[in-house]
Amino acid sequence: MKTVKNKEKREIKRAKELDKSEISEMKGKNQPFELDRRSVYKCVQCGTCRSVCPVFNVVGWESANTRGRMLIIKSLLEGRHPSEDVLPSLASCTTCRICAAKCPAGVNPPEVVEAARAQLVKCGITTEVQEKLRASVITSGNSFGEAKDRTHWLSETERSQLPEKSDYVYFVGCFDSYRYPEFAEKTFKVLQRFGVTLLPDEQCCASPLLRTGFREDAEKVMKRNLEQIRKVGAHTIITSCAGCYTTLKNNYPEELHVISLPEFLAEHLDELKLKKLDLTVTYHDPCHLGRHNKIYEAPRKVIQAICTLKEMKNIKENSRCCGGGGGVRIGYPDISLELARNRLEDVPECVDYIVTSCPLCVRNLRDAGGDIEVIDIVELVAMAME
């Protein structure tokens, strides 16, 4: 006989629940809640998404899984008055897209959830954290509300020597600019030889605004970036952040040719002259690079040009979310970190590093603890170029 040891699940504290009487039904501005009905009614409520939703896995309530979110959106479409009561459900989706990858009916829930968030913004229903994030982006041009110059990591000379015109723009992103300037430096160093420049006054790519429903504000920020990109005359935008990548690629006008850093590196491996390193690493697929844009092979090609790759338990389309996306890291830190801890369980034994290609993933996986250092792919490349 064997007694089975079950993994003790950490209880995730839920935001204080509003009682019926407390729900300020009238808080919502009297705006209609509108969405493409067919995108919602395609859902047959089979529950396939329930078995893969990483947020549901740690929260446990039906409203925290994709089917629950689709049901709540359906209820709003059918006339239920939107109120703050829907936020713990609709604001806690990381938009990781694993539900869409598994949905037999072909529903794209992250798209529906983002559209619903935009409608909630229109109705005046947002969380405090969302508002704070929005204010940061609007007033300071970055998601952290940082006042210092975005290119503070460049020397005066480097800054003065940036070409005004170039075929390539390196879009740095808020995270690398302010939280991981060392990634930005290394990326810039690698890309410099290809004549890249930076935007003179790069703004947040608008991903945090788009993911949380502030579409009108996002338009303004995107416009400022776009004007500069056109002025530089670049035909290609390179970015090392998965969030910036998916935004630039899918939310900016189609005329932009956007390429992720791993793709660019994979295309230019010969020119980079990388050394072989005696290392074994694993690779975490960022959702916004992987499932959202199907970039699975390029980072692996780069890693394998440098060292041994040992895959995680769930990879590519089945990769588990780090918990950082969709505004969840900032809005629901407990849930977000628990997702990251769960992802670390997929790491194979005997690897030197966990490599990924998104600073948000780096941060969340690092914050989750664990014994193995989490690095960005550019750091591995930099090691191989030393």
Binding site: E17, R38, V44, T48, G60, S63, S89, A105
Partner: protein, 456 residues
């Protein structure tokens, strides 16, 4: 007495009365709707017992729910009250290989149980299409089965013992680890398929089976579904018992190909999938026999060439029910009239009549299912924004149910009655239905356990 306060004393924060949360528990995968007043997520038998006792004393309806993947509204609280979300009680308590049994809590997911059993070389055979998300508790409550029931039987054949919380909160065990017992009524079998109307299952002792050494898959196509039905009857009468015997009509094939264009499936006709399992020799012999028996009737017939080819076909088959939107994005699969069953010999007639009915009402239908045990999943799909299509859909479902009863079959083979098919119970059972009523009254005199279900 303030019920919210009392429930909080039992489960703390694992209680919700938020309108959004309640809304998420107001449906399953069927069209049945009903909003609860409270949702609780118990963690132990003791908590369930205290909640049910509270409900009993205050005459509040209690509806147990697993993953909410049901297709008949069984987990939908049509009279309000308390929903017990059992999915958090999901531990495997014991893997007892010496007795070829496991003890589990009801919230465990079927696939998770089987993943845990693979290292021991065993499995829990009943495998619904929803095995990746459905719970064992739900399977017990609805006597679920699936593709392999033709050889392995249904959930009913695998339950040895149940821990059950009765309507007044009393906790009983209905069996033991014994293989057999001649001591009185078989309460285990009474609880299985009772849809939470007689008690709440909080633990289950289950029989498991050794994994077969190998599986083989024969894929055959036929000019029409009726001829395919004849091929099934012929196969069985020749003494072959496949481990799965599935039909996919031509519409289902199109859907599957749209879902995964790389699937190796015939390009024409209606298709039968015969799976055989056992040792290498016995499986090969059985597959050869099926090919020999079916060839004269088939347009094409072949053996799947690799494990991967087989696995891909089964994975896609499991999802076919919901995948119809891939064919036409304006159409959504609605689960009504989807689970009828008839004696095997009547299958060709059921297929013919199902086709006639859907044509008469000008509704598209996809036919697939466990033809080997007489279970047909008729998939009707409509534009949900079109009221006329809803009307026709309900008429087709009604006729399909009545046809199954007329052919000596059942309105539900494995999905259950719930609220969706309650109106047919009397027609199907006649005076036996009154016995069910008497049992319900004896065990749940106040009618608090999942009221509004089974037509009771």
């Amino acid at each position: 007495m303030d019920i919210t306060t009392e429930l909080r004393k039992i489960v703390g924060l694992r209680l919700s009365v938020s309108p959004s949360e309640l809304y998420c528990y107001s449906s399953d995968a069927s069209q049945v709707k009903g909003t609860p007043d409270y949702v609780v997520r118990p963690k132990s038998t003791d908590e369930v017992s205290r909640i049910v006792k509270l409900a009993y004393e205050n005459e509040i309806p209690v509806t147990a729910r697993g993953a909410g993947t049901g297709l008949a509204g069984g987990a939908v609280p049509v009279r309000g009250g308390i929903v017990l979300d059992m999915s958090g009680m999901n531990r495997i308590l014991e893997i007892d290989i010496d007795n070829i049994q496991v003890v589990v809590e009801p919230g465990i997911i079927q696939d998770a149980l089987n993943d845990a059993l693979i290292p021991y070389g065993f499995f829990f055979p009943p495998n619904p299409g929803s095995s990746a998300m459905c719970t064992i508790g739900g399977m017990i409550a609805y006597n679920a089965s699936g593709m392999r029931c033709v050889k392995y039987g249904t959930t009913r054949n695998y339950v040895r013992d149940l821990e059950v919380v009765l309507a007044d909160g009393t906790v009983i065990h209905t069996g033991s680890k014994m293989l057999k017992s001649a001591a009185g009524y078989d309460l285990t079998q009474l609880i299985i398929g009772s849809e939470g109307t007689l008690g709440i299952v909080t633990k289950a002792g289950l029989k498991i089976a050794p994994l077969p050494k190998t599986r083989k898959l024969v894929i055959a196509s036929f000019e029409n579904a009726e001829i395919a039905g004849q091929a099934v009857v012929k196969t069985f009468s020749n003494g072959v018992i496949p481990s799965a015997c599935e039909i996919l009509d031509r519409v289902s094939l199109q859907v599957l190909k749209r879902y995964d264009p790389k699937l190796v499936l015939p390009s024409e006709g209606d298709v039968l999938l015969f799976e055989v399992d056992g040792t290498e020799n016995s499986a090969r012999e059985a597959a050869e026999q099926i090919i020999e028996v079916c060839s004269p009737l088939a347009l094409s017939i072949k053996l799947a060439e690799s494990e991967k080819e087989m696995a891909d076909i089964w994975a896609a088959r499991k999802l076919v029910g919901a995948a119809v939107s891939r064919l036409d994005p304006t159409k959504t699969r609605i689960y009504v009239g989807e689970d009828v069953g008839v004696p095997i010999k009547k299958i060709p007639e059921l297929l013919k009549r199902a086709q006639e009915i859907s044509e008469k009402f000008n509704l598209h239908a996809m036919k697939y299912g466990h033809i080997g045990d007489g279970n047909l999943h008729l998939a009707l799909f409509i534009d949900v924004l079109n009221k006329d299509e809803w009307d026709r859909l309900n008429q087709v479902a009604d006729l399909i149910h009545r046809t199954a009863i007329e052919l000596g079959g059942t309105v539900s083979s494995e999905h259950g009655i719930g609220a969706a098919r309650a109106e047919y119970m009397k027609a199907q059972w006649g005076p036996a239905f009154e016995v069910m009523r008497a049992i319900k009254k004896a065990l749940d005199p106040k009618g608090i356990l999942n009221p509004g279900k089974l037509g009771l």
